[in-house]
Structure formats: structure tokens, C-alpha cells
Amino acid sequence: MAFTDLFDVLITGILRGGIYALMALGLALVFGVMNISNFAHGEFYMIGAYVAFFAIKAFGLDPIPAIVVAGLAGFVMGIVIEKGIFYSLRRRSKEEWVMNTFLVTVGLSFIIQNMAFILWGATYRGTDAYWKGTIQITPGMGVSVDRVVSFLIAIVTMAAFWLFLRRTQTGRAIRAVSQEERGATLVGINLNNIHTLTFALSCMLAGVAGGSLLSITQAYPAMGAKPLLASWLVVIMVGLGNVSGSIIGGLIVGVLEAASYYFLGAGWQNVVSLIVLILILLFKPSGLLGTEVKGVLER
């Protein structure tokens, strides 16, 4: 094993990790702001992939507009689900909120996933490479352009999102709600709107992730399971509610996966990730970068 091999593993892992970071960002955001542990997050990824597929195949869109449409579809779907389900649950009772929302999202994931089976069947739907060709990174390894572009899309989206959270009035309102709900209402923030917007944005991030990876992982009803697992790994690893930490966490999980694939072969990624996670939690139960944000100690 040469040094270049390690370098290859690192690059592959980081390229993979970009998308995980994007997914985990949405997951962490929804947990931080709304205290929902979303187990249907992978389904929005799946919907993004399907929408991108149909946008390209049926409407002949170019990749970038297709990915934008996928993100928009996620956004709309997020609004519908938040208004339809979480809003009514919130009005009914706040008791056992974390556990109830967890159960609801598990149910939602069942519904969405199996509806996709009914609507689109168990066939894989993919496209040719968005952008042809490979980039030679080291003499031994080339990476497809799609991989690199999807990573760039993830980075650009996250940067834009970060700017939105820091620089705009709405973004500040979202952060205010995540810090102190009551205080946020006192300064005149409409909680309902912020909750809906946050959920929709999180779904949008997942939709973008699904759309931009379509040429690498084909659309399939159960495709959401893997990114869901990866993003939960990230979120637990860095500590729930830590939004910016999820970016670093995504890259870590990506590298772990690439390394386990390289050293142990296929099928051991979860085992390796779990062992690392257990070690982290043994020594630091609140996660790598964990802080006691709202929600971590809430039950």
C-alpha cells in the first residue's frame, strides 16, 4: 500500500462525503429548529432523483435545471407534509413530541417509499453521465466528472445556505427559533411559518442531493435508505443539532466508507462506521463537536 493509495481513498471519500454532508445538513437543521428526528429524510432524496429523471427524460431538461427542479419538488413536498402532518400534530399535543414525530416520520417513509413502488415499479431509472469524461487525479486513479460536479454542487449549495442562514432576515429568524423558541415569538417571529420553511428547505437539500447523484445512483424506490443511514451517522457523530458540524461529519463518514471499501471490500461500511461511532460515543457521548443545543437533552 503506497502513499498514493491513501491519497486516492481520501479523495474518493471526500467526494462521496459532500453529498452526505448536504443530506445531514438538512437533517440537523430540522432537528435543531423543530425537534423532529426525521426518518423520512431519505425519501426526499429518492423523490429528488425521480423528479430529476423525469425532468431529463420527459421534458428534456439539462442537468442543472433538472437538479433545480428536483430541489423545488422537495421544497413543495416539504411544505405539504409540514402543513398536513406536523402542523396538526403540533396543534394537538406537544407531549412526547420527539418520540411522536419519530414515529410519524417512520410511517411517512413507509408511505412514500411504497407509493413510489406502486407508481413507478421496481425498475432502476438512471441517465447517462451528465457530463462525460473522467478527471485524472493521480496516475492510478481517475474520477468521473459527475462525481466532482456533484461534490461542487453540494459545496455551492451548502455555502449558499450558510449565507442564507447568516445574512438574511429569514435565516436569522430560523436560527433564533433553533436557539430559543419563546424568545423568538417575543420578538415577533411567526413560528408556524419558520417551521414550515425550515422543513421545506431541509427537504429541498435532500432533493438536490438526489437529483445531482442521479447519473451515479439510479432512481429506485428504496434508494433513500443508504443516504438516510449515512446522514444519521453524521448527525450522531458530530452531535445532534450541530448544523455546521454536519459538513465536517459528512466528509468523515465519506472517508470512512471509502477506506472500509478499500481495505475490507464491499459490505463492511456500516460495520466500520458503527465501530468508529461507538468509540466516539464511549468517550464523548454528545458527539465529536457536540454542544448541549436545545433538543439534545429534551426528551
Binding site: I85, E96, F102, L103, F110, I111, I236, G267, V271, R299
Partner: protein
């Protein structure tokens, strides 16, 4: 003299009943169990007997699940992973070492219990949702191990497991499972009525208050979790020697969700509700089998509705019906007092 005898026989009877009662076997439950005990003798149909075995198996799993979800309020989202662990333990003991399936059941229980203990030690220091997610990771990891260790488990090719008996008839299998399920039911009812169960319930309702009252949450949660996982392993072991072929698919999260839905429809923290729910829901879904995918959608819809609209489930329904009857009786009594 005669009066005394009568009195003592009444006392005997109440003592007799209270023994059953302390095992959670109310007269209604005794009647229902008696019906279940003779049902396969009357119904000759193999298809229905198979269905009954599924109901028992899922119902028992849902009871074990409810023991953690309904009492210490931890959703063991890796439940099917532990069922699968038990199944593979018993199966591998039989296939690789030639251990009898009956001893395999013991092995399955012990191994699943030990893994549950370790998982509990690790995750149950964490609060609610962390524990659920960690258990989920463990379940998925177990599934991945079963898939990856092809030399041992034959992976997704499927492992052929010796059956309990040489016969393919379903009725004997029903009678193997039936005492196990009764045993699980009685065990869980006894445990949940004890001080231990009270402590668990307190932890589930408000962990800080429980801690302030001198209950060590981690200890009780770990013991509770271990029992539940051991039962999952036992049922998994039965499943392996009942079905005859094992693939890592038994550990899929989908199965956990099915068990979860049953226990929630049955009503959190009731134990019996889960078993009743299994006997109601599984036959309905069996007849919906042509609509396979819609069946799973329905599971999801049930879960969402149960959580939002009717969180107390069948147990809550029965409580409110019982309350309504008592209310009526009280009113009738009052009227009788007034009328003369």
C-alpha cells in the same frame, strides 16, 4: 359449620383467582387463551393455521417490543436485528454444530440477551431518540454482518435450517409456539406489575423525577432492554426452525416497523394490546395480500394516524369502553336509589 365451609371455599376461589390475576390472566384473558388453545383443533384448514402461527409470532414480538417502548419509552429500532440474531444463532448452532433446535432456542435467547445487554449499556445512557437511532445502527450492522459473512451464513443465498419436527403440518408448530407465547405474556405481565415494572414506568414517564425518587434509570433501562432482546432472540430462534430457510432479510427495518405498528395499535404499555392487535391486523392484511404494496402503505398510514389521532391504541379504547360501562352502572344504581 356448613357456612364456614362455604366461606373457606369462597376464600379459596378468590385466592385461586388472584393467583391468576397476579399473572395478568384476568377471566377474559383466560377465556381468550382457551379459545386460542383449542382453535387449531377445530379449524383443520392449514392456511388458517399458518396464519394463526404468524399472528402468535408477531404478537409475541410486539409484546416484547412494547415492554421497552411502552414502559421505559425507548423505541428499539433495531428490534428485527435482534430477532434475526436469535434466528441465526439457533440456525448456525444446528447447521454447523448439530445442536438440537430445542437447545438452539436457549442459545438464541442467551446470545440475543447478551448483545442486548451490551447495546443497552452503550446506548441507554443516551436519551430517547439517541437510543433509538443507535439501536437502529446496531440492527443494520447485524444485518450487514449476516450478509457479508458468506462463509458462515451463506449470506443472501439463504441458509437451510433443520426444522423442529419432520412434519410439514402447521398444527404441531402452533402448539410449540403457543406455550412460549403464554410464557412470554405471563412473564411480562408479572414483571410489569412488580416494583421493577413500576420503576420502568416511572422512568418512561419522567426520567428526571424518577431519578430524584432514587431510581437508577440506566440500571432499570438496561435490564428491561436485555429482557426484551432475549425474548426477541427466543422468537427469532423459533422462527428459524419454523420457516426452514433464513436470509438476512429477516433483519430488515421493515419488520421492526411492522412490529412497532402492532404494538402501537395495541396501545403503548399494555402488553396484551399488542397480542390482540396482531390477531386483528395480520388477518386483515393477509386478505389484502394481492395489494402487497398498498399493504405496506397502510402500515404507514396506521402508524401516522395512531400517533396523531389515537395515541392510546386498543388498550385506551378498551379502557374508555370499560369506563363507559362503569359510568352507566353507577348511573343505574343512583337512579335505583332515587326512584323509590
Amino acid at each position: 359449620m356448613q357456612k364456614m365451609e362455604q366461606a373457606s371455599s369462597v376464600a379459596d376461589r378468590t385466592r385461586f383467582l388472584s393467583v391468576f390475576k397476579s399473572m395478568g390472566l384476568s377471566p377474559v384473558a383466560l377465556v381468550l387463551f382457551a379459545v386460542l388453545a383449542v382453535a387449531p383443533l377445530i379449524v383443520e384448514d392449514e392456511y388458517i393455521n399458518t396464519l394463526m402461527v404468524s399472528c402468535l409470532l408477531f404478537g409475541a414480538q410486539a409484546m416484547a417490543f412494547d415492554f421497552t417502548a411502552g414502559y421505559i419509552n425507548v423505541v428499539n429500532f433495531g428490534f428485527s436485528g435482534l430477532v434475526g440474531l436469535g434466528a441465526y444463532t439457533s440456525a448456525l448452532l444446528a447447521v454447523r454444530l448439530g445442536v438440537s433446535p430445542w437447545l438452539g432456542l436457549v442459545g438464541a435467547t442467551v446470545v440475543a440477551g447478551m448483545v442486548g445487554f451490551l447495546v443497552g449499556l452503550l446506548t441507554l445512557r443516551l436519551r430517547g431518540i439517541f437510543a433509538a437511532v443507535m439501536a437502529w445502527f446496531v440492527g443494520l450492522t447485524l444485518m450487514e454482518l449476516a450478509t457479508a459473512m458468506v462463509d458462515l451464513t451463506r449470506g443472501s443465498l439463504g441458509l437451510n435450517v433443520p426444522l423442529f419436527l419432520d412434519t410439514a403440518a402447521r398444527r404441531p408448530y402452533y402448539y410449540i409456539l403457543f406455550p412460549i407465547v403464554i410464557g412470554i405474556y405471563v412473564l411480562l405481565r408479572v414483571v410489569t406489575r412488580s416494583d421493577f415494572g413500576l420503576a420502568c414506568r416511572a422512568i418512561g414517564q419522567n426520567i428526571d423525577v424518577a431519578r430524584a425518587s432514587g431510581v437508577n434509570p440506566t440500571k432499570y433501562r438496561v435490564i428491561n432492554f436485555t429482557i426484551s432482546c432475549a425474548l426477541a432472540g427466543l422468537l427469532g430462534g423459533y422462527y428459524a426452525h419454523y420457516i426452514g430457510i433464513l436470509t438476512p432479510g429477516v433483519m430488515a427495518t421493515t419488520h421492526t416497523t411492522e412490529v412497532l405498528v402492532l404494538s402501537y395499535i395495541g396501545g403503548k404499555g399494555s402488553i396484551w394490546g399488542a397480542l390482540v392487535a396482531a390477531f386483528l391486523i395480520i388477518p386483515i392484511f393477509e386478505y389484502l395480500k394481492p395489494l402487497m404494496q398498498f399493504r405496506l402503505v397502510l402500515y404507514g398510514v396506521f402508524l401516522v394516524l395512531a400517533t396523531i389521532v389515537y395515541p392510546t391504541g386498543l388498550a385506551g379504547l378498551s379502557r374508555s369502553i370499560g369506563g363507559w360501562f362503569r359510568e352507566q352502572r353507577r348511573k343505574a344504581k343512583q337512579n335505583r336509589h332515587k326512584s323509590p
